[in-house]
Symmetry: C2
């Protein structure tokens, strides 16, 4: 079955997921927290990184209803999260999702999904996620092309910059949070996929970027972190240095994450936060 | 109840423990494996580090029958493991243990235990462990002093040396394998315990040392690793560099682990291996 543009509107779920304090700590280590961020990577006055939303959220989006395709051809395009409440260190949620768009880009198909999650302890909405996946080689099914990405041109120097180094073995820690695709660990598999070496998980870059936004704009307080969206534009290799550049306008910010060569790896970032 | 020397011979168990491939990977990362040891820290042709025995073994030793004491006063003295078969990446074992000695050292008590574990999949013996715990402040109960530690004086330069760096945040990763004592993560708690900073788990040092023995003497092959014993002699601080010095005599070796200042942190090491 090729890509099916009529899948737009297809709904899925409910899907339940539970998590505990230890998983939050492991995730924090996976996205680079160390001895200066014990509130995230140990149980001491534990808080949860807002980007942990990508680990527990996103359930219920019925990607399969948009067609059958080789998962090895799937590339993460965009990722957005919205936190309605801070994530507790231990909990259980229920997610429902849907397909919101299917685009024909010629060289591939884009499938956009969204998902909403309710905290099953309180019955209150906890978080929302949106993702787009690019499926290489699955274009040409006669669908609409969809909107083009706007080019982000801030026109001035960033207001805030935060730089973190990733580690050579960053992906080996990050993958234990769930995405064990060997593209991120196995040099032979990465070569078959057309890469010189294993690449970092896009969502690991996303987590580093979220930490930079949290510390750069929210004083490290997860309750001030409201939403974050961005587009993956280039692979990151474990060991790369990541600099998050932020342009602030009140409680809104635009951001870009660049590597040590100044190449943009996460583009068109949008972030909202409270005082 | 003070220390009870009549507890010698007390038996405990059976205790069951199961583990999976992911726990073996997390342990490997905790003791310093990186991108050069994918066979231990990923599922690619996965093997298990022999020192993972300290995580899954040791069950059933009835330490409580030797008296009640404050666990904060307990210090790991010696640790020995014996591998009867390589540890599978996923499994379930059953352990029985006993108290083998109780000594009165004046400043504290020493309790020695041993434990044997059977692989519940095959019914075959899998591993044995021996530990001694020093309990500060619990001496003076009128027991025997027990044998003194011999001083290890090799009299010649080591035959093999392997050096690894630990990381500043090494304990934060290692503790997710099970020992979440805040002495290894929380600066305030460490100060209350009389340390300037959190110290590394003794068993993390033990794991680094086991890796050095495995690569230095067994060509990296866990099936050649038979037994390893040593005595913790000095705290290691995360970030320390560890050098394992090995003196070889056929399939036996003596070893010492020293820090970057040449101070011995794991002493009186004994290791056996096969060709």
């Amino acid at each position: 079955m090729p890509i099916n543009p009529d899948a737009v509107g297809a709904e899925g779920g409910p899907v339940e997921r539970s998590w505990d304090a230890r998983q939050c700590m492991l995730y924090a280590l996976g996205v680079g927290c160390g001895v200066d961020e014990l509130q995230f990577d140990t149980e001491k006055n534990q808080q949860v990184l807002p980007t942990f939303a990508v680990i527990i959220g996103g359930g219920g989006a019925p990607l399969g209803s948009a067609g059958e395709f080789n998962p090895a051809m799937l590339v993460h395009g965009e990722q957005a999260i919205e936190l309605l409440r801070p994530i507790p260190a231990k909990g259980k949620l229920e997610s429902r999702g849907k397909i919101t768009a299917v685009w024909d880009k010629g060289s591939g198909a884009v499938i956009e999904t969204e998902s909403q999650s309710i905290d099953l302890e309180t019955g209150e909405p906890l978080l929302r996620t949106r993702s787009s996946m690019f499926i290489r080689g699955e274009g040409g099914f006669g669908g609409e092309r969809g909107p083009s990405a706007e080019k982000f041109e801030p026109g001035r120097d960033p207001d805030v910059e935060v730089t973190y180094s990733t580690r050579i073995d960053q992906a080996l820690i990050y993958r234990l949070s769930g995405d064990m695709n060997p593209l991120h660990s196995d040099p032979d598999f990465a070569k078959m996929g057309g890469f010189d070496a294993p690449i970092l998980h896009g969502l690991c870059t996303y987590g580093f970027t979220g930490r930079a936004l949290l510390h750069g704009l929210c004083g490290g307080d997860p309750t001030r972190f409201k939403s974050m969206a961005g587009r993956f534009s280039r692979p990151v290799i474990p060991g790369d240095e990541l600099t998050v550049k932020m342009w602030v306008n009140g409680g809104d910010a635009r951001f870009q994450t660049v590597n040590q060569n100044g190449e943009v790896v996460l583009d068109q970032g949008r972030f909202t936060f409270s005082d």
